[in-house]
């Protein structure tokens, strides 16, 4: 896993490929085309890229209107503004009528780093997940981000794609991607670790550390938070008898709660949620911020061990 590419960068590349394949695809941005990487698409397809200025509420509703005309709008800004500021527009004008709009929001999570807590969305998964009918996806690496973009273009309905600013390792292995189908990327009998996004890589490293202590961890990449792969979650929870969820998101409302919703009252097992512990983020180098909030491989390994 030598090469590091941010999922947002892969998103930009994927849009260009998608643009060539599907002329219905259009892209909207809110004055962040360089940061979100939709600027790459703009260079190739300038007449299919719409800068809506710093007006996110208007942007997502314009995307809603475009979708009713048969276009497939991919709409991007930072997760804080796309899922946060424009939340009610997404809820009422896109999800309620089940419009085919793809909300691809970058700079999610605390790995945003230096911009600080005001720009680190740690509640976007929670906000999007509670909306009826919303598909919610968090790719783990650049390859998965690309596959998710292509899958979403084929899927008819509202969807939220969570993308990261930070360049992160690209897996050597090529995993299949199907919306709603989790990928088991490591088998182990002692604990089922359900994770997503940048934390998948950290959890794989953590699993190696645990192995040295004789703890065998299954690592499951739950790239689709909604609809969640209940079958896989149930199977591995039963099989291992212990569950830990790890996400770069608040421990409230995200992957951890999605997993617990599946298991609650059905599977008896140890359960621990790891993530940002009901507090705001802060400025710092991404690696330092992740460490401050306990989301690096060695910290995750220690917490998994403590949970068993």
């Amino acid at each position: 896993m030598a090469e590091k590419i941010a999922t947002r960068a892969a998103y930009g590349e994927a849009l260009i490929e998608l643009g060539a394949k599907n002329d219905k695809v259009v892209v909207l941005d809110a004055d962040l085309a360089n940061a979100t990487q939709t600027g790459k698409f703009k260079k190739v397809y300038p007449d299919r890229h719409f800068n809506m200025g710093i007006a996110e509420a208007n942007m997502v509703d314009v995307a809603a209107g475009m979708s009713t005309m048969g276009l497939i709008p991919f709409c991007s800004t930072f997760a804080m503004f796309g899922a946060g500021r424009a939340y009610e527009q997404v809820r009422n004008s896109i999800a309620y009528p089940k419009f085919n709009v793809k909300l691809c929001m970058t700079h999610a999570g605390i790995s945003v780093g230096e911009d600080g807590g005001s720009h680190q969305a740690i509640e976007d998964l929670a906000l999007m997940r509670v909306i009826p009918g919303m598909t919610v996806i968090v790719p783990a690496d650049a390859n998965e981000a690309k596959k998710a973009v292509f899958a979403l273009a084929e899927y008819d309905g509202p969807a939220y794609l969570r993308l990261a600013r930070l360049a992160s390792p690209v897996f050597e292995e090529d995993y299949p991607f199907e919306i709603g189908k989790a990928n088991v990327i490591r088998e182990g009998s002692d604990v089922a670790v359900f994770t997503c996004g940048l934390m998948v890589c950290e959890c794989l490293e953590a699993a190696k550390l645990l192995e040295a202590d004789g703890i065998h961890a299954s690592i499951i990449n739950v790239h689709t938070i909604k609809p969640i792969d209940a079958e896989c979650v149930t199977k591995y929870a039963k099989q291992c008898g212990a569950v830990v969820t790890v996400e770069e998101h608040s421990v409230i409302g995200g992957l951890g709660d999605a997993v617990s919703d599946v298991l609650m009252g059905k599977v008896s097992c140890k359960f621990r949620k790891l993530g940002v512990d009901d507090q705001f983020g802060q400025s710092g180098k991404a690696e330092d911020v992740l460490r401050e909030y306990g989301l690096t491989a060695d910290q995750i390994a220690a917490n998994i061990k403590a949970a068993l």
Binding site: D47, V62, A64, G70, L71
Partner: protein, 271 residues
């Protein structure tokens, strides 16, 4: 459609509004009655729509940004034959296609789900922008209210309509001067609306009487100004056509009782 026919159509829609809200025991008659002429004129004299084929890809589009005027919208659509007037009795009831605010998934002829104020004009901008992008000659109409213009997003939408030179978009601005808590000026002054709308880049047509059907049609028939979105700012009367509702903020979101229904229908009879 002649002016006389349009006026008859408008009277029928007004009776629909009274019946729907009275049946439901709730709803928004005031802002529905003020919107009748502009909405009816758009559908009856301007728009290419086919009630038998509500999803016709070549249809023109209408977005009711002030979604609480749903009774007016449902009245217009039913009078045109998009669905049966029998549905009126189900307005605001469980399992009805006629939700309290328009639901695009449920009502034939409704293209956007609205009701949360400030969002519909943006959706209409998206439709008009997409039509331009796709090389279609689709005309898009959006109706907003004056109270609704207190939402900042309305102005974001206006800004983007001018930026993208959407001369296929007409905003029908229903300026009845009243909102739930009182007059616009008491609640939050809108200032010099004509000047603001012109400054935001509209081809503005101001109608001293937005409930004058002939004047509304005349405004809509004017040639478009290339590269400019149009706004028809109609000064209207909230509760128009029902004496005891006219210019009363209290009738924003209150249904007539049976006695009031009878009186209202009597006043609207034969118009």
């Amino acid at each position: 459609m002649t002016t006389q026919e349009l006026e008859k159509f408008c009277a029928a829609v007004r009776r629909d509004i009274i019946n729907m809200t009275a049946n439901a025991g709730s709803g928004h008659p005031g802002g529905s009655l003020s919107a009748v002429e502009m909405m009816s004129a758009a559908f009856c004299t301007q728009m290419r729509v086919d009630p038998r084929n509500p999803r016709d890809p070549n249809r023109d589009r209408f977005v009711l940004s002030k979604g609480h005027a749903a009774p007016c919208y449902y009245g217009v659509l039913a009078e045109l034959g998009f669905f049966s007037r029998d549905e009126f009795k189900n307005f605001r009831q469980l399992h009805s296609i006629l939700q309290g605010h328009p639901d695009a998934k449920k009502v034939p002829g409704v293209d956007a789900s609205t009701g949360s104020l400030g969002q519909g004009v943006s959706i209409a901008v998206g439709m008009a922008l997409a039509a331009k992008h796709m090389g279609k000659d689709t005309k898009v109409f959006a109706m907003c209210g004056d109270g609704e213009a207190q939402e900042g997003q309305i102005w974001e939408a206006f800004m983007s309509a001018a930026h993208y030179k959407l001369d296929n978009l007409t905003v029908l601005f229903d300026n009845n001067g009243l909102q739930i808590d009182g007059s616009n000026d008491e609640v939050m002054s809108l200032g010099d609306l004509p000047a603001k709308l012109r400054a935001f880049g509209f081809d503005l047509i101001e109608l001293p009487d937005g409930n004058d059907a002939a004047a509304v049609v005349e405004a809509m028939n004017r040639p478009i100004v290339p590269g400019k979105p149009r706004c028809i700012l109609g000064h209207t009367v909230k509760g128009k056509g029902v004496s005891f509702m006219e210019n009363q903020a209290g009738w924003h979101g209150k249904a007539p009782n049976e006695e009031q229904r009878a009186q209202a229908l009597a006043e609207l009879e034969g118009k």
